[in-house]
C-alpha cells in the first residue's frame, strides 16, 4: 500500500473493494458501496437561498429531508449543461444522509485486486480535496471519492454563497 503519503487525501486500504461508480463531467468516479444507501433518478429540488454554493437544494426522500450537493460544484468542475438532469447518489455520512448529484450512474465494480494509488498531484486542488486516491483500471482511471470529505462543504474554498 502507498500509505506513506502525507497529503490529506491519503489513501487507505478501506478505499477499495466494491465500488459504486458514476460520471461527473466526463470523469469516472467511484464510491465504496458501504457508504451508498441508494441511487435515485432526478428528484425535485427545493432551492435553499443563502446556502453554500455546493448545496443545490433539498429533496424529500420518503419523508426525510436530504441535502443535495452538486458534485460538479464541489469538485470545482464546470456547471451541468442546461436541460441535463442529475442523478442522486444517496450517501450516509456521520449519521446523516446526503445526496450527491452526479451526471450518470455506472455499474458496481469489484476493485479488490487493484492497488489504490495516490491522487496525481497535478489534479486541481478542488478535486484533490474530495478524491482519496485513484484506481488505474484497464481502460479507465477510477477516482475514489472520500464520502466524508465530499459532504463537507464547510471549507472556505467551496462556500462561495453569501450567507
Amino acid at each position: 500500500m502507498t500509505a506513506t503519503l502525507t497529503s490529506p487525501g491519503a489513501p487507505t486500504s478501506a478505499m477499495t473493494g466494491q465500488m459504486c461508480t458514476f460520471w461527473v463531467d466526463g470523469l469516472y468516479f467511484g464510491l465504496q458501496v458501504e457508504h451508498v444507501q441508494e441511487v435515485l433518478r432526478y428528484q425535485q429540488l427545493t432551492v435553499v437561498p443563502c446556502a453554500p454554493d455546493a448545496v443545490h437544494g433539498l429533496i424529500n426522500l420518503r419523508g426525510q429531508i436530504v441535502t443535495a450537493l452538486d458534485l460538479r460544484c464541489r469538485l470545482g468542475l464546470p456547471p451541468r449543461p442546461e436541460g441535463e438532469l442529475p442523478m442522486n447518489v444517496i450517501v450516509r455520512s456521520r449519521g446523516e444522509v446526503v445526496s450527491l448529484l452526479v451526471d450518470d450512474i455506472g455499474d458496481v465494480i469489484d476493485t479488490t485486486d487493484v492497488p489504490l494509488q495516490p491522487t496525481p498531484a497535478n489534479l486541481p486542488p478542488t478535486v484533490q480535496d474530495v478524491v482519496g486516491g485513484v484506481l488505474p483500471l484497464p481502460g479507465s482511471i477510477l477516482l475514489v471519492v472520500d464520502a466524508e470529505r465530499a459532504v463537507d462543504v464547510s471549507s472556505p474554498d467551496t462556500t462561495g454563497g453569501t450567507p
Binding site: 425535485q44 427545493t46 437561498p49 443563502c50 437544494g57 424529500n60 419523508g63 426525510q64 429531508i65 453569501t162
Partner: protein, 798 residues
C-alpha cells in the same frame, strides 16, 4: 383516591423496570467499579423512587432509598470506593425495594411488616459509616431493637434467614458466617478482616441480633438527613402475615395487572412512527387530490376511508408522545413540604389540571423551571406565618399550580398569595447590582421594572439561601422555557401575591405555520411568531410606507415598524411591487414586518431537521414537507431579525400602548455626524426623503415642492447649534412637522428608532433649540425644542 391509585400504578410500572435495570447496573458496576456513569444512573433511579415514594407517603420505602441514595452519592462523588460489601448492601437494598413494591402492589402498602427494611437500612448505614467495627455493634443493636418493636422476634429471624438465602443465591458470594452466628463472633470476624464486611455477614448480623428488646423506635436515618421525615410509626401486624415468604417473586394471581397493562416503547421508535405517519398523511393528501376528479366510485370511497384512518392514526400516534403534566406535579408536594419545613413557612399546595397533556420532551424541559418557580414562590413569595398574621393574612400561605390547554398551548400558572414583588425594591436591587442604571430605571414602566428579574445576575433575596437567591434564577427559567418555544410572564400585586404564567406549545414536532410564497418556493413561518397580516396597495402604500435612509418602515397604528423584504433576506433582489403583503412577526423582543410575495394558508407542519451543511444559515429553523411532497423551508424569525440587524424595538412596551401614540414617545434622530437628537413623535406627521435636486430656494430659505404646496426646510443641526454633516447621499431625510395648515420639513441625517421610554430631561446641554439632554438608549440625546426650531421658519411663512 382514584387518582392516587393511578399514580401508584404508574409508579409501580416505572419502578419495576428501573429495578431490573438496577440489578444489571449493579452487577456491571462490580466489574467496573470506577464507572461514574453507571453510578450516576443507579443514583438517579434510586433518587426517582425515593422522590415518588415520599410523595406517595411510602415512608419506609423512602427511608430505605434515602440511605441507599446517600451511599450512592458518596460513591458517585468518589468519597467511597466500591467493594463487594457495598455492592451487596446495594443489591439487598434493591431486593428490599422490590419486596416493598410488591407489598404495595398487593395492597398491603409499604408498611407491610413482612418486608424487613430496617436491617437493610442498618446495613447500608454501616457501609456508609465506613466499616469501622466499633460502629457495627451499636447500629445492629439499635436496628434490631427497632425491628423487634415492629415485627416481632420470630419474623425477624425467619426473614433474615430467607434474606440471606436469597442473597447468597443471587450473589454467589461465599458465606463466611452462619446465619445465626452470635454478635460477638461476627464482630470478631469483622475485626479480623479489617475490611468491608461481606454481604452475608451483614445479613447474619441482623439475624443474630434477634431476639431483640422492645424499645422506643429510634429513627436511624434522621441523623443522616434531618430534612427527611422519620420512619413511619411501627404498625402492629399479625405474626401470620409476617411469616409469609418475603422475597417470593411469584406474583399473586390477578394482581400483577399494572405492570402488564402498559408497554414501554423506545422514544426513537415513537419518533420513527411519527415520521412515518407524517409521510402517510402526505401520501393521503396526494391521493385525495387525484381522486377528487376520479369517476371510480370505489376508488373515491376507499380514498375517503384512507383519509379518515390516516387522520385517526396521526392523532393516536401523536397522543403516544403525550404525557400528563401530573408526572411533574407528583414531585411538587414533596418539594413544597420539604422547603416549607426548611424555610419555616406554612403552605397549602393546591394543584389542578393533572391530566393536562403535553409532549414528553417538553415535559422533561418543564421540570426544572417549574421546580425553580415553586421554590421562588416559597422563598421569596410566601411570608413566614408570623409576618402573614401581622398583615391580617391567614398564617398558612396558598400556593396553587394550575395547568390547562388554551388555543393550542399549554398554560401553567404558579400562583402564591405571598408578599408580591415590589417594583421599587426590584428597581433598587437592579441598580445596586448594576443590572440597569438609575437613569434607565427612571424611564422604565412598572411592568418593565418587574421584568428586570429575568435579567441575568438578578436576585432579590437578601441572603443567599440554599433554596434560591444565587442570582442564576429567573433568567435561566426564561431561557429554558424559551428554548422549547414557550414564554414566561408575571403579574404581581404588592402584598397580595404573584402569578407566574408559563406558556408552552403542545408539541415541538407539529406546529401550526403560515405558508408564504417567495420566488418559486414556499416558506413556513411558525404561527407562534405571527402577529398579523397587512396588505397595502396604492395610496395606502404611499402614505404608510416610507424609506428612511434606504430602510423601509411602516406606520402601523401610530408606530413605526421596520420592514424586511423576504426576497432580500433570502439574498434575492429588491422588489418594487405595486402592493405590499406584510407579515408582522415577533421574535423575542423584536417585532418587524416581513414583506412577502404571496400568502398561502396556515397549515400544521411537521418540523424536520436540516442537514449540517445548512445549520450555519440563520434564516432557517428547519424544513417541512408540503402536501404535494415538496420540501419547504421553515423561517427562523429570530434569526432573520438578527441577520438583518434589527435592534430590539421595545415591542414589550408596545403591547402596553396598543393603537395609540404614547405622548412620551420619541423619534430618535441622528444629526451632525452621529449626534443624537429626539423629537416628540406626536409632532411628526411624516418622514420623507427628497432628492437634493428638488431643493429650491425661496428667499433665503430652502424649500421643496411637496403635496401641491411648498414645504420650507430647516436644517436641524445648525438650528440646535451643531455642525451640519456634509451631504453624503443625493437624498435628504426629512421629518415633516405640520402645525395646523403649515408644514415644516426638518432635515436630519437619519432616523434611528422610536422609543417609548420615560426620559428624564436634564439641564445639561440646554441651549437655543434644545430643551436639555437625556439618556435615550444609553446615548446622550438632545431633546429638541421643536417650537424654537420651527418658529423662525413658520414666522416667515405666515
Amino acid at each position: 383516591m382514584d387518582d392516587d391509585a393511578e399514580i401508584v400504578a404508574e409508579f409501580l410500572v416505572e419502578s419495576h423496570e428501573n429495578l431490573d435495570q438496577l440489578d444489571r447496573d449493579l452487577v456491571e458496576l462490580e466489574r467496573t467499579p470506577d464507572s461514574r456513569e453507571l453510578l450516576s444512573s443507579i443514583f438517579r433511579t434510586i433518587h426517582t423512587i425515593k422522590g415518588t415514594s415520599g410523595f406517595l407517603a411510602f415512608n419506609r420505602l423512602e427511608v430505605l432509598t434515602h440511605v441507599g441514595e446517600n451511599l450512592l452519592s458518596r460513591l458517585r462523588d468518589g468519597k467511597m470506593t466500591m467493594t463487594t460489601a457495598t455492592t451487596g448492601a446495594l443489591l439487598s437494598m434493591v431486593d428490599t425495594v422490590r419486596a416493598l413494591l410488591e407489598a404495595i402492589e398487593h395492597g398491603t402498602g409499604d408498611a407491610d411488616p413482612a418486608v424487613d427494611v430496617e436491617s437493610v437500612v442498618a446495613m447500608l448505614e454501616r457501609v456508609l459509616a465506613g466499616e469501622a467495627e466499633a460502629a457495627a455493634e451499636p447500629v445492629v443493636a439499635e436496628t434490631a431493637a427497632e425491628t423487634g418493636a415492629e415485627t416481632g422476634a420470630e419474623a425477624v429471624e425467619e426473614l433474615a434467614e430467607e434474606l440471606v438465602e436469597e442473597l447468597v443465591e443471587e450473589l454467589a458470594v461465599p458465606v463466611v458466617a452462619e446465619p445465626a452466628a452470635p454478635v460477638v463472633e461476627v464482630a470478631e470476624q469483622v475485626a479480623e478482616h479489617g475490611q468491608p464486611v461481606p454481604l452475608s455477614e451483614e445479613v447474619a448480623l441482623v439475624a443474630s441480633a434477634a431476639p431483640p428488646q422492645p424499645v422506643e423506635p429510634q429513627p436511624v436515618v434522621q441523623q443522616a438527613a434531618p430534612a427527611v421525615e422519620p420512619p413511619a410509626p411501627a404498625v402492629p401486624a399479625p405474626v401470620a402475615a409476617a411469616a409469609e415468604p418475603v422475597l417470593d417473586t411469584e406474583p399473586e394471581e390477578g394482581r400483577r395487572g399494572v405492570v402488564d397493562s402498559s408497554v414501554r416503547v423506545d422514544v426513537d421508535l415513537l419518533d420513527g412512527l411519527v415520521q412515518l405517519v407524517g409521510e402517510l398523511v402526505l401520501t393521503r393528501n396526494q391521493i385525495l387530490q387525484r381522486t377528487e376528479s376520479a369517476d371510480d366510485v370505489e376508488l373515491v370511497r376507499a380514498s375517503q376511508r384512507l383519509d379518515l384512518v390516516a387522520s385517526e392514526l396521526q392523532e393516536s400516534v401523536m397522543r403516544t408522545r403525550m404525557q400528563p403534566i401530573g408526572q411533574v406535579w407528583s414531585k411538587m408536594p414533596r418539594i413544597v413540604r420539604d422547603l416549607a419545613l426548611q424555610l419555616g413557612r406554612e403552605v397549602d399546595l393546591d394543584m389542578q389540571g393533572h391530566e393536562t397533556e403535553l409532549d414528553r420532551s417538553l415535559l422533561e424541559a418543564l421540570k426544572g423551571p417549574l421546580t425553580h418557580l415553586v421554590r421562588n414562590s416559597l422563598d421569596h413569595g410566601i411570608e413566614p406565618p408570623a409576618a402573614r398574621v401581622a398583615q391580617g393574612k391567614p398564617a398558612t400561605g396558598k400556593l396553587s399550580l394550575r395547568a390547562y390547554h388554551e388555543s393550542g398551548q399549554v398554560v401553567v400558572e404558579i400562583t402564591d398569595d405571598g408578599k408580591g414583588i415590589d417594583p421599587a425594591r426590584i428597581g433598587d436591587v437592579a441598580v445596586s447590582r448594576g443590572v440597569v442604571s438609575r437613569e434607565q430605571l427612571a424611564r422604565m414602566e412598572p411592568r418593565a421594572v418587574l421584568d428586570l428579574i429575568f435579567r441575568p445576575g438578578f436576585s432579590t433575596a437578601e441572603t443567599v439561601t440554599n433554596v434560591s437567591g444565587r442570582g442564576v434564577g429567573m433568567d435561566v427559567v426564561r431561557t429554558s422555557i424559551e428554548r422549547i418555544g414557550g414564554s414566561v410572564d408575571m403579574t404581581s400585586t404588592v402584598g397580595a401575591g404573584t402569578m407566574m404564567r408559563i406558556r408552552i406549545p403542545l408539541t415541538l414536532a407539529i406546529i401550526p405555520a403560515l405558508v408564504v410564497g417567495q420566488g418559486r418556493e414556499r416558506y413556513a413561518i411558525p404561527q407562534a411568531n405571527l402577529v398579523e397580516l397587512v396588505r397595502l396597495e396604492g395610496q395606502d402604500l404611499r402614505d404608510n410606507v416610507e424609506t428612511l435612509a434606504g430602510a423601509p418602515v411602516l406606520r402601523l397604528r401610530g408606530r413605526l415598524l421596520p420592514l424586511v423584504s423576504l426576497s432580500e433576506a433570502l439574498g434575492g433582489a429588491k422588489a418594487a411591487p405595486e402592493g405590499l403583503t406584510i407579515v408582522v412577526v415577533q421574535a423575542d423582543e423584536v417585532r418587524f414586518g416581513l414583506c412577502v410575495e404571496e400568502v398561502h394558508d396556515t397549515q400544521e407542519i411537521v418540523v424536520k431537521p436540516i442537514g449540517r451543511q445548512l445549520k450555519a444559515i440563520p434564516t432557517y429553523a428547519g424544513a417541512t414537507i408540503m402536501g404535494d411532497g415538496r420540501v419547504a423551508l421553515i423561517l427562523d424569525v429570530a434569526g432573520i431579525a438578527r441577520d438583518r440587524v434589527i435592534g430590539a424595538a421595545h415591542a414589550a412596551e408596545a403591547e402596553v400602548a396598543v393603537g395609540t401614540v404614547d405622548a412620551r414617545a420619541l423619534l430618535v434622530l441622528e444629526v451632525s455626524q452621529g449626534r443624537r437628537a429626539a423629537l416628540p413623535l406626536t409632532a411628526v406627521s411624516r418622514l420623507e426623503e427628497f432628492d437634493l435636486a428638488r431643493i429650491e430656494r425661496s428667499g433665503g430659505a430652502e424649500v421643496v415642492q411637496y403635496r401641491d404646496g411648498i414645504l420650507p426646510l430647516v436644517r436641524l443641526a445648525p438650528a440646535i447649534g451643531l455642525a451640519e454633516s456634509p451631504p453624503t447621499e443625493d437624498q435628504i431625510s426629512v421629518v415633516v412637522h405640520e402645525d395646523g395648515t403649515h408644514g415644516v420639513g426638518i432635515v436630519i441625517d437619519r432616523v434611528r428608532d422610536v422609543v417609548e421610554e420615560q426620559v428624564v430631561p436634564t439641564e445639561v446641554g440646554k441651549r437655543n433649540g434644545v430643551l436639555g439632554s437625556a439618556v435615550v438608549q444609553d446615548r446622550v440625546t438632545d431633546l429638541v425644542d421643536l417650537d424654537a426650531v420651527v418658529r423662525p421658519v413658520l414666522a416667515g411663512v405666515r
